[in-house]
Amino acid sequence: MAQPILEMRSITKEFPGVKALTDVNLTVHPLEIHAICGENGAGKSTLMKVLSGVHPHGSYTGTITFEGQEVAFRDIRHSEAAGIVIIHQELALIPELSIAENIFLGNENARRGVINWDSTNRRAIELLARVGLRENPLTPVKHLGIGKQQLVEIAKALSRDVKLLILDEPTAALNDDDAQHLLGLLKELQAKGITSIMISHKLNEIEQVADRITILRDGRTIETLDVTQGDVDEDRIIRGMVGRDLEHRFPDHTPQIGEVLFEVEGWTVMHPHDHDRTVIDRADLHVRRGEIVGIAGLMGAGRTELARSIFGRSFGSRIEGVLRLEGQPLTLKSVADAIGAGLAYVSEDRKSLGLNLLDDIKTSISAAKLDKLVDGLTVDENREVLVAETYRRDLGIKAPSVAAGVAKLSGGNQQKVVLSKWMFTDPKVLILDEPTRGIDVGAKFEIYGIIQQLADQGRGVIVISSELPELLGLCDRIYTLAEGRITHEFSREDASQEALMRHMTSHTR
């Protein structure tokens, strides 16, 4: 094989008190798609930050050789100049600017500071064609869906003569169609001479596109697998990531299902700004005591909209329909009403809707039901600590203490904090929107266990997920949602990925 395009040798990176990377090695060959796998906190992102100069030369030990030359990047601009571009999980586009402006931001087609818009737009059209995005380059980015925004990011990278493209969780927020398009694009770019590194938790995607896979665990390189040599499947990757066989990706569970607990009837919701646009159309569903019910739908089908409109009308306008809890009709005018009635909603977007990142663990956990801790006029802070400690212990939240800030926790631990917060409200019905998004395999297993326990305590649980295997493994019953309508109801036995997908894409109108 040819000389590697990138070689990272013995990279060790320490933060005060923590060794994030220990003696990590990574070799990437030209024109391959190289996947990096590992649990959250395994050091994947830190390694990429070392590579792209976010952690500048001198703040780590070890050597980086790029295209045969040893390099010492000072910052991101420096690494970009060398042809290494990183696309982060959180997209770095400016919503108000056009596609073309975003692509050439910081790299404008200008002479003496004056921008040539004609050449900018012409080059933008060429780049959009390369990534297969048919949009007017003058369209503001805010009008694009997240999948298309991802493509704009890649077009931006291509505009900078990228040689090595790094994608951090590129498909985490995409639906299956967009994800497939993106993976196809990676393959095309590979054929056109671009090497990629891809960090992902979605093992089926890695298996599909990656040529080689490097597995990190606890800040160390565990192994590099060659997919082209065969014999690499999801179980093999998982074994490397967690250091043990995960025979069952779901905890064993025998459901104890009781009477009907929560019913939604004829639920119709209009768009919050466009009052004539139907977002949810006459949805009927119910949950029994002790039951885990799944809602499967593609992005844009109205899953989150359905959940949030039920949860105290926190989404939508002109909402019609009936909610019944334990047979009694419910009128919920606000989120506070919904919490008071015994509903809980765990948002798909932990960082912007689930947590105040300035808070510590204990204040985050008590935030939705502070009344329970009130003693006279004041919040009983000692009891707050005790409550938080209970959850820290029971849910296995990894943190030095409950006074630790939530911003520094890993995704899985943040999600456990959010779950604790809603468990503390002692809800009768929990709606979990993408409860394992961006969470590593080991933590997912624990979260599944928590969900099952919540059901076993006699609560009703609704799980919304775009990962069909997750719904199939976890749920006792699954509804499919397409274009705002419930299109089918599956029992556990009848459900399969193919059948679900058929009803998720069926056009009823």
């Binding site: 933060f15 008190g17 923590v18 994030a20 906190g41 050091g43 994947k44 830190t46 800040g219 043990r244 025979e247 069952h248 905890p251 064993d252 989120v335 506070a336 919490i339 008071g340 912007s352 809707l353 689930g354 105040n356 990142l357 300035l358 808070d359 204040t363 935030a367 502070l370 009344d371 009130v374 006029l377 004041t378 919040v379 000692n382 009891r383 600590v385 005790l386 409550v387 209970t390 820290r392 212990r393 029971d394 849910l395 296995g396 943190a399 030095p400 203490s401 006074a403 630790a404 911003a407 520094k408 890993s410 917060k421 468990m423 002692d426 297993f445 266990g449 928590i450 326990q453 305590q457």
Partner: protein
């Protein structure tokens, strides 16, 4: 030592500001040959800055809830003018006028709250408009003139002192008594907190350290009242101010509404989804600011013994500066009432000290501007350093830290624990 560092660690910014204030005080005390801390001057320091400090309390709350209020100077002038008119032209008793004016201030604040919370116009714009509106209305109601001859009881709010009681001891007796009472209160609060923490088996500071801290607090309080007692005792406005600081500190740190104000400032969407009525919080915070602006306006008029159309100019800037020097964050969610008061004193002592040294007003402005910038820059620098230590996996090193052993018993007794045993579930794999 680690305990000490941990206890200090969470409050580095606050301690930093206290130390900075102490350093500034010592510097001027030395430079002015002891004039700064003379009884008369300390008394003046308090009364001169009282209205800015009152504003700073409300302002830090507004800033914590991620807004700003530019109108407080104009509102203070307007309400001060209305108070003077009520008392001199309408012949209302002074206490009726005070109550009406506080209500008027709250009403003005509610007007801001309506536009900001329910219509959704940024507070910057709404209060900028009010800054103009109420400056204009002040000129209108006063006809551009100064209104004097205010009742003496009202003037006492700005420049009066607590009455003297008991025999002549050379010190102001009531002031010393209040000092003793405050010291006892501080000791009681500290003991109660420590006992409560001990009952829950939480880690507390070692006893000698605890005693040293409480003793230091008592010494500071007693020295402070001793200095004031050598002159004419506690100014009335200082009593008002201390009561407000105590009340609002309690409100912000110990009550549900305080928590909700921090929650709204930290992440308004997450607060909404946790059931916080965020609009109501915004509304209340701005209403409260209006009321405190009214109080500040009356204190200022009382101190000047007149209502003046030019009163309150630039008050908003001093109050905002105090909040930021005291550690509030522009993005909201961060800040404390005590911090804002300390920030206000930093500005006040700088003003006073430089005046005593004969530094011209031109240089005073420049130096205060630089201090504001330096304080916030220091804060940003500290935050950035703290962030470098973070990053994925940063929590790792402590992940193995065992929970305190005593806790288990406590936890077992918790009545409403929703104990799930996921530990078992994951161990079966």
């Amino acid at each position: 030592m680690t305990t000490l560092r941990r206890m200090l660690g969470s409050n580095v910014r606050q301690y930093g500001m206290v130390l900075a204030l102490a350093a500034i005080v010592l510097f001027f005390q030395f430079q002015t040959d002891g004039v700064l801390l003379r009884p008369l001057n300390v008394s003046n320091l308090l009364t001169q800055n009282s209205y800015i400090l009152i504003l700073a309390i409300g302002m830090v709350m507004v800033i914590i809830s991620r807004h700003i209020d530019l109108s407080v100077g104009s509102v203070a002038a307007f309400v001060g003018a209305m108070a003077a008119i009520m008392m001199t032209k309408w012949d209302l008793p002074w206490f009726v006028a005070v109550v009406l004016c506080l209500a008027l201030g709250a009403l003005i604040g509610a007007w801001h709250g309506f536009w900001v919370a329910y219509v959704g116009i940024p507070a910057f714009i709404v209060t900028l408009a009010s800054m103009l509106i109420f400056r204009g209305l002040t000129l209108t109601v006063l006809n551009g003139e100064t209104v004097a001859n205010l009742p003496s009881q009202f003037e006492g709010m700005g420049n009066g002192f607590l009455p003297e009681i008991g025999p002549d001891t050379g010190l102001h007796n009531l002031t010393m008594l209040i000092g003793v009472a405050m010291s006892l209160f501080v000791v009681w609060v500290e003991l109660r907190r420590r006992r409560s923490a001990t009952r829950y088996n939480f880690e507390v500071a070692p006893l000698p350290l605890f005693i040293a801290r409480v003793a230091l607090e008592v010494v500071v309080i007693m020295y402070f009242v001793y200095v004031l007692a050598q002159y004419r005792g506690l100014p009335v406005v200082a009593v008002i101010l201390f009561a407000l600081v105590g009340l609002y500190t309690f409100l912000m740190s110990r009550t549900v509404i305080g928590r909700q104000i921090y929650a709204v400032g930290g992440n308004v969407d997450a607060a909404t989804m946790s059931g916080v009525r965020t609009r109501r919080i915004d509304f209340l915070v701005l209403t409260n600011m209006g009321m405190l602006a009214a109080l500040a306006g009356m204190v200022f008029a009382a101190r000047l013994t007149a209502a003046n159309p030019k009163a309150g100019v630039n008050f908003e800037l001093d109050a905002i500066a105090a909040a930021f020097i005291g550690g509030a964050a522009v993005t909201g969610g961060v800040g404390t009432v005590v911090g804002a008061i300390i920030g206000g004193f930093v500005m006040g002592v700088l003003n006073n000290g430089m005046s005593l040294l004969g530094v011209g007003i031109d240089w005073q402005q420049t130096i205060k501007g630089l201090v504001l910038l330096a304080a916030v820059a220091f804060d940003v620098y500290n935050k950035r350093r703290a962030r470098v230590g973070g990053g994925a996996g940063a929590e790792k090193d402590d992940a193995t830290a065992p929970p305190p052993p005593e806790l288990d018993e406590q936890l077992a007794e918790l009545p409403d624990s929703l104990v799930t045993t996921t530990g078992e579930a994951s161990s079966t794999s």
